[in-house]
Amino acid sequence: MREGLPALKEIDFSTFFATRWYPIEDLFGIIPLISGSLIVTIFSMLIALPFGIGTAIYIGEIAPQKVNEILKPLVEILAGIPSVVLGFIGILVLSPAMRVGLNLPTGLTALTGAVLLALISIPTIVSLTEDAFYAVPGSYRQAAYALGATHWQVIWHVVIPAARSGILNAVMLGIGRSLGETMAVMMVTGNAPTIFSGLESFIAPVRTMTATIASEMGEVATGSVHYHILFFIGIILFLFSLVINITSSSFSARPKRGNDQVVS
């Protein structure tokens, strides 16, 4: 806070909300950076949520035990891969594949970053969602079956609504993870400060706030304008996480536990 707030005094608002980031010529427009972070995070969630929640439903409710014994460790392994390693895989494998497969000028794009971020967030989402399903009392399911529901109807209409707050929690954590990821995006998004301008922006290079702080913090002189701005970007990141957390707590309505016994 102390390091970031002076930025507000030193730069007037019009420069701040300008659209060009080029610090060595005193162009400090942060809009491209915010745009970059948002594009990559939103897109990664569009990929990660269906896959993550779907996998959790499969593991928790549908798959036989034998399949689970293979699938769960696989998810854990994915969680254990360091983000730098995923970044390398991104540069060497994913990026050329994107370029050739989608006929793009370059494979270093927001989409590539989003795919990597999805891979990073999926294990978090899967385990938290699975825990949420596990916490739904067995009596709910049994009651639904007793009323004649099919397996799928039980999952869709009983278990998921009951686990609503846990799933939301998983989603929020996934978003937070994506927003804060630095190394993987720094290596594959191209770091060009472009601004969102329609659908083509997803397959264009972007520059995230996290990559900017990581790349530029080393060279700034302590106390300079650039230094304060970088801290201010950190404050903005923090505010984003705060908003996400507040949104999630305002939505989560914990289901009241009645007198039914929890079947262990």
């Binding site: 080029y22 060595i24 050329p96 000028p105 770091n191 080393g218 002189a221």
Partner: protein
């Protein structure tokens, strides 16, 4: 049960305290401009210079085992910032020091002194399958400003041009901006186009250029590998097109070459002075040539 809990607590507390006891930092390198350390030199800055600085450090330490030299990269800007903050002894730079940096140094009571330790050429590199062989500096400048966007316009195939660059903290970036994008003019304030990809390392640039037929990049001669293609450059249309090499840098025909510096706080003394003197001797300059740079004595 209680004893067991207490024992665990004790164990946890001792683990927390252990790292604090063991710290034994090497000789204090936080010079406030007074006596430098007697056996330790801390060297930081340009990524262009880092391999060369490492090779020098290793060779020097072999000959004088009592001296320890530590070398890190981070970019010329990072090196200058650290020199000004007082955390290192020698900054490596692939660009000259800026006026703001000189001013900051003077405010803190010292005069930064630059020593030329080698020369370097910046090579413009493209994918080996790209048919283009030569470009003028003006064409390169317009490509990087975003005015030329298709390889067709400079004699190549019908492909979009993907521009690669180092990050803004890199001396190589700043040098390229001043010499090529702005064509050496001090009044020109043009900058790289918005969609220039800023990659965090030279290796990132080589990797993308090697792989992507649309790519154009630039890098120090010492980093160019066999699997990318260098472009012959001419200062203006009508001049001869020259490929970068040690010979063309020394005889001045290659248009983008530069000095590489090591910068000290004031005039170097003691072991720093000896180290810098060794660096411009023939033995050390032989290492310069081995690594693909151009020796100082060639001038």
């Amino acid at each position: 049960m209680e004893g067991k809990a207490f024992g665990t607590l004790l164990l946890i507390i001792s683990f927390i305290c252990l790292p604090a006891c063991g710290q034994n930092k090497p000789v204090d390198s936080n010079n406030a401009g007074s006596e430098p350390s007697a056996t330790y030199i801390e060297n930081k800055g340009s990524d262009t210079l880092v391999n060369l600085a490492l090779a020098w450090a290793e060779e020097y330490q072999k000959r004088f085992p009592e001296i320890q030299i530590s070398v890190t990269g981070g970019g010329s800007g990072t090196g200058f910032a650290a020199l000004i903050n007082g955390t290192i002894d020698i900054a490596n730079a692939s660009r000259g020091i800026k006026q703001e940096e000189i001013d900051s140094a003077r405010e803190l009571g010292f005069e930064p002194v630059e020593h030329i330790v080698a020369n370097d050429a910046i090579a413009v590199i493209i994918n080996p399958t790209n048919p283009v062989e030569k470009l003028t500096l003006d064409q390169v400048s317009r490509i990087y400003k975003g005015e030329i966007t298709n390889w067709q316009d400079v004699g190549g195939e019908d492909r979009p041009i993907v521009k690669l660059s180092r990050e803004t903290n890199s001396g190589t970036h700043v040098y390229f901006l001043e010499t090529v994008v702005r064509l050496g003019s001090k009044e020109d304030i043009s900058i790289f186009s918005r969609d220039t990809l800023l990659l965090p390392s030279s290796e990132g640039i080589i990797s993308e250029v090697r792989d992507n037929p649309n790519a154009i990049g630039y890098d120090g001669l010492g980093y160019v590998t066999e699997d990318v293609k260098m472009v012959a450059l001419a200062p203006k249309a009508g001049d001869a097109y020259i490929l970068p090499a040690a010979a063309t840098v020394i005889n001045g025909t290659y248009p983008i070459s530069r000095h590489l510096f090591m910068v000290t706080r004031g005039q170097p003394q003691g072991i720093q002075q000896k180290y810098l003197e060794w660096i411009i001797s023939d033995d050390a300059q032989a290492i310069v040539a081995e690594l693909g740079f151009v020796p100082v004595l060639g001038e």
